[in-house]
Amino acid sequence: MTKIELTVNGTKQSREVEDRALLVDVLRDQLQLTGTHIGCDTSQCGCCTVHVNGRAIKSCTMLAVQAGGADIVTIEGLAKGDKLHPVQQAFTDCHALQCGFCTPGMIMAITALLKDNPQPTDEEIYHGLEGNLCRCTGYINIVKAVKRSAELMK
């Protein structure tokens, strides 16, 4: 067991974790942040995507102990009170979600993508979403939401 301290959505958290505990399990089970989801076990679906020190990473492929000292943002930390993040707003404006299971990870991946590349082309969007699977939407409206987000964030 190891004691880790991390900042999650702006709040300092301190927990005892098993060394083998995944970051996603600590977020969900110990911090009750169940917005981050687990959709696979081969690090491909992206449902577990969160931001660690400003970069999008798959929290199912990171040990909680590796995140010691890190600044973590989950889907729950994106909106500011009642004010949605532009990517969240774009998702509902564009019907870019149906069942919503992939959505938190998708939104976290997209916020990071737009930080690196504020005006991506279609090809850059497809490339940027290679780490996120969706079974419901066919991605067409998700791509629209990325472009709308880019507009909203100009």
């Binding site: 083998r20 995944l22 491909q44 992206g46 798959k58 990171m62 040990l63 102990v65 010691g68 780490g131």
Partner: protein
């Protein structure tokens, strides 16, 4: 996964000493291969020694005719580095195609090279550029480093510290990604360097290899049609439910042609 103890190395020396003293320990860099392996209970290390945060394993810089990259440098840093884009743009382009964005934020050069997955991208560049793998004990030439599927010249406890890439006159990488995993079904790195023309193929066979016949043919005539009808040992190619060995051989040829065309389009 099975239980283990996590150790965050504070220095390379500490890491070195620890793994020497604990033969069942494994090194952890980005974890993009190791953690999925552990999740599937395919390995049972006693300890994970985290070297991902060591500053002595980071860094990207041009030193003379070489581009030197620290082993713990994540792929996204290589992909977006102005230094790499200027000196060796083909390497930045390669790094930008590894895995997916989230994987690129964690996966590292040293991890990729030490693991030597037969479908990984970096080994093609390392081999084609006659790079030198620098470890905490010695320097290993690319030609000696890769020894087959998941096998390298690294000894137990030996730690990759960085890779020195010879900056070529020009180079290009073309990859046909596996539709499910994103690994290379065939990835070809073509380079015109000080030692001559190099064509390295990853993903198609049991390990990265130099397509020697192509190198010889292109040295005689530097054009895509020089690759027509060249022997490429199909028997050595991988075959699985996604692709036959004939198809992989075809992909290797097609990717080689495309990489060559891309390279020739540069000054």
């Amino acid at each position: 996964m099975f239980e283990f103890n996590y150790v965050k190395a504070k220095s390379l020396t500490e890491a070195q000493t620890f793994v020497a003293a604990h033969p069942e320990a494994k090194l952890l860099s980005g974890g993009m291969t190791l953690i999925p392996t552990l999740k599937q209970r395919l390995a049972q290390p006693s300890h994970l020694v985290d070297i991902g945060g060591l500053p002595e394993l980071r860094g990207i810089e041009v030193k003379g005719t070489q581009l030197v990259i620290g082993a713990a440098t994540p792929h996204y840093e290589v992909a977006s580095s102005p230094v790499v884009k200027k000196a060796l743009p083909a390497l930045a382009a390669l790094a930008n195609q590894i895995g997916d964005p989230q994987v690129r934020n964690r996966g590292t050069l040293g991890g990729s090279v030490a693991n030597n997955d037969p479908a990984a991208d970096y080994p093609a560049a390392v081999l084609a550029l006659d790079a030198t793998v620098v470890t905490n004990k010695r320097e290993i030439a690319a030609g000696d480093f890769f020894q087959g599927m998941f096998a390298t010249a690294l000894e137990d406890g030996e730690i990759v510290v960085g890779v020195r890439f010879n900056i070529p006159k020009r180079a290009a990488y073309e990859k046909f990604p596996h539709p499910a995993s994103g690994y290379a079904m065939a990835g070809v790195f073509v380079a015109e360097g000080a030692a001559g023309l190099r064509v390295a193929v990853t993903g198609a066979a049991s390990g990265v290899f130099r397509w020697v016949e192509a190198e010889q043919a292109l040295t005689k005539k530097l054009s895509a049609d020089a690759l027509e009808g060249l022997p490429l040992d199909e028997a050595n190619m991988n075959e699985d439910i996604h692709a036959t060995r004939e198809y992989r051989a075809n992909l290797a040829r097609v990717m080689a042609k495309r990489a060559l065309k891309k390279m020739l389009a540069q000054k």
